[in-house]
Amino acid sequence: MRPRAALAAAALMLAALAATAGACGGESRETVTVFAASSLTDAFTELGEAFEAAHPRAAARFSFAGSGTLRTQALEGAPVDVFASASPEEVEALADAGLVVEQRALAGNRLVVAVAEGAAIAALADLAAPGLRLALAAEAVPAGRYARRALALANGADGFPPDFAARVLANVRSHEPNVRAALARVELGEADAAIVYASDLARAGARVRAAPVPARFQAAADYRIALLREGDAARAFLAFAVSPEGAAILARHGFAPAGGTP
């Protein structure tokens, strides 16, 4: 009885395996593996659907994480076809390692202050008030670098104390691994505010308000997209992302147009 049951189970498993293998191998779709910055999560998910609709023979699969994590993974040999980073530094690191076939400017972005419901913050200057609980993307991620640059630019500016950046950083209670995690802190009410991308707030819930970061402090985010492995589908994805259709999807998610090709 028992061996027979085991045999039946084994047969079932084999059948299931064969079925999944058939499902994978049956279609001759070429898969593009895309590593993309966390801030691109929503925009690239939609971009991927539009890409697949336009290219029925291709499929896009994504890995979203902080640009720094993706860079390290790609440097360590992760099988990536296309890499979209929130800043040029990560793409340059891959280019130095000889991993970049081609790169293009993808989009721009602005910084905003995401403010939790009920927190008394109306402007960037308010972030220095003692006792606030702030979340920031870690310095290793582009959003964290841009935010620190903006704070440094505000040091001593009109209406800002000379040690503004230091005061704000003293209020930071958590350095998050990516910008979406920093926003999540605000959405949960765990943090009073975070500095995130304007595009991140395009999808945030009603529990989060935006306070502007003045234009003179904006360290304009510069998104890059790079082809890491030659392939028809990979090239098609890159072309689609920088096409007018791709730009329209990114604009709908709050991204600014790319500054220009490098």
Partner: protein, 271 residues
């Protein structure tokens, strides 16, 4: 010849055993090889961030273990001795964090003790106490995922000691506490030590729940696993991550060795 045969595995088992050994030894070999090859790794090992994270990891995991032992021992003893309906359900509930992915533990802790959480909100409103982003949150995350290992082992250890012994000691004039300390505790010592070691190791390695519930702030909530994740993201990339991993590995090995030594000696004295 026969001694050698006793030590060698049967020939049919040699292949799976070799594969198993290769699989588990290769990652450690890889870490060591990278650490030795990469000169930058040695510098990263003694960076302020690394040492601060290591110190935080060691003391928070020890604190979590201390709380687990203090609160978990009575629970384990009670579960080993008491007979009541629904005991299986209670035991399953205590075991739950063992099978729970730590990220779920983090989200669950946040919904309970976060600023807008079930208990966190009244704590904040009435007493102005916020747990999130604090070292206390780190210890709570470690306790949540680690304590079940201790309670589980201690329960099994106590259950293995015949309740008759305690009763006899009690009738001979020992107080119940004294009977427990002089009879049950020494007899169940190996189980308690094994459970404590598992609990501590699990607390030391805790990442997911800490990251979600406690956040990531150097010196306050950035434990070694979080620092390793941060290093992986930084421009130093794998070099820094390898350095920190080796550091934590060495610290963990030393602590576990010390732990086993102490428990073996104490166990020898008690038995």
């Amino acid at each position: 010849m026969s001694a050698l045969r006793a030590r060698l595995p049967p020939i049919g088992l040699a292949a799976p055993i070799a594969l198993f050994a290769l699989f588990f030894l290769a990652p450690f070999a890889g870490l060591l090889e990278r650490g030795l090859r990469d000169a930058g790794a040695r510098a990263e090992m003694t960076s302020g961030m690394a040492l601060e994270a290591l110190a935080l990891s060691l003391w928070t995991s020890t604190a979590a273990l201390a709380i687990a032992v203090a609160a978990g021992t009575p629970v384990a003893w009670w579960l080993a001795r008491a007979r009541f309906r629904g005991k299986g359900a209670v035991e399953a509930l205590i075991d739950l964090p063992i099978v729970l992915p730590p990220t779920i533990a983090g989200v669950a802790l946040l919904t309970a003790f976060g600023r807008n959480g079930l208990l966190g909100e009244p704590l904040d409103d009435w007493f102005g106490v916020t747990i999130g982003f604090s070292t206390a949150a780190v210890i709570m995350a470690q306790l949540f995922v680690g304590a079940p290992f201790y309670v589980r082992a201690a329960r099994a250890g106590f259950a293995g000691v015949d309740a008759q012994y305690e009763r006899v000691a009690h009738t001979l004039g020992a107080s119940r506490l004294r009977a427990f300390l002089r009879v049950t505790l020494p007899l169940s010592w190996p189980s308690l030590a094994a459970g404590a070691a598992l609990c501590w190791a699990r607390a030391l390695g805790e990442l997911g729940a800490t990251l979600i519930f406690a956040g990531n702030l150097r010196g306050e909530t950035q434990t070694m696993p979080l620092a390793i994740l941060g290093a992986f993201e930084s421009a130093a990339g794998l070099t820094a991550a390898v350095a920190l991993s080796l550091l934590l590995l060495a610290a963990g090995l030393v602590a576990l060795a010390a732990f086993w030594l102490i428990s073996a000696r104490a166990g020898g004295d008690g038995a």
